[in-house]
Symmetry: C2
Amino acid sequence: MLIPLIALLAVAQTPPAVLATASAPPLPSDVMEGDWRPIPDDELLVMTLAGGRTVVIRLAARFAPEHVANVRTLARAGWWDNESVYRVQENWVAQWGDASEKKAMAPGVRQAPAAEFEIARFDAAQTLSRPDSYSARSGFTADGWPIASDGKAAWLTHCYGMVGVARDALPSTGSGSELFTPIGQSARRLDRNYTVVGRIIAGMQYLSALPRSEAAMGVYATAGERTGIVSVKLASDLPVAVRPRYEYRSTDNPRFAAYIKLREVAAPPTVPTGASVCDVPLAVRRAGGK
Amino acid sequence: MLIPLIALLAVAQTPPAVLATASAPPLPSDVMEGDWRPIPDDELLVMTLAGGRTVVIRLAARFAPEHVANVRTLARAGWWDNESVYRVQENWVAQWGDASEKKAMAPGVRQAPAAEFEIARFDAAQTLSRPDSYSARSGFTADGWPIASDGKAAWLTHCYGMVGVARDALPSTGSGSELFTPIGQSARRLDRNYTVVGRIIAGMQYLSALPRSEAAMGVYATAGERTGIVSVKLASDLPVAVRPRYEYRSTDNPRFAAYIKLREVAAPPTVPTGASVCDVPLAVRRAGGK
């Protein structure tokens, strides 16, 4: 079958380890068992859509603590339960929450948290070799987040699958009740203009493959087009027996450095093209093989 | 409703003119009537999917003449009729053609055309202000194609919605019978490694919103998952009465230069972020308001 063979390197959520067979020696870029580290249960948000489709979001707790606190409060209040994915705009974003804008906030939610567009410093464990169209430096934190900097400020990048906080006009930052994720080309123009609260680590296809709306801003014109949200819960609030556990691939090791290099400098006869912060897969896996 | 307001600038196929209201003076970036130029009928490929969903592809005839010649021969032979979209891989590509690989080529198709990964020169009418992760220079040809260069070679870029020719391992270039389009983050690692034959200018949502396959390489495991292709025809071979006509927004004018600048340097208080060759919308419209 004629297929872009390079695709094998592009599977976003498949550990690169699958590239090595049992009989082949490990590559310098292969993930090792010790590279996997657990994601805390209270940094996992489990969104169940109609039909039982599950989307799992890793929360960026240390980068956007105020907004993540709101997200946790909203989840614990069941605030999103029976709400919907109400906006799906082609090559732009899918967005969910309360389409009516009339629902009362859950108690304890800060309506106007401090802006968390930027983070304190560029703490990348790995830095890409070239500047890109949006930033002088970019790379990955040790714990697997994409990050960029202009040499002064730093910020998480709005790559495909990152979760941002919708808002009104600046200087509003949004409370965190309305969330969106880029479903096409990365939305890097939103960097430092919107707060990033997480990244979708499982079930992205249940958002990216939703029907697009051709109405203004991609907001579904009718309620019937929306996809219902059954529930949104923190994994830490689920019974242990059904609680999903995930691990991320850490980047502060020579295997990940070699993995980036493989993407930046392709093997001949393929022409090397480079790699951007939004096209280096950041692997996660279910813990314990569950 | 809380929405990323910047999205208004991100609607890929909506002319920027919609940003100006009747009462507002035109912006320097507003498209003028004379900026629209016709796309020749024999450079439009009309793919009708099951259910009457229509995908329109603009062919890159002057950049990949050998492969586009094959595509025209295949369309005129009805070669794709009753074939399918057989591969949809999350955050990677949708691909169509003959899933069996056993169908005889149409007469006149060159099985091994010359590689057309690169084009003669970087003939951009507008150049973006920064290098990106993949190229020293990038921009847009006068006739609305995204293009990049390393200072020597030049090439069309594998942005979202571009149409590439699937192939086996290098040095194969593929005949053009199996085609793919990126449906997530741009696939710039394919630049100069695959031949680009076109760009989807209408109906992209009928490919991008197809269900993803979790089988190897995103190839549907069963025939029932595929989306049928009713027909693929050149617009020039359709009866005049039903022939779609499209115009592209030319870029060799100060309006388009100002439009790029608007995206690179946002209006305060929004932080300027930059723009990449894959996130500047290249507008098209139906001619004659049809």
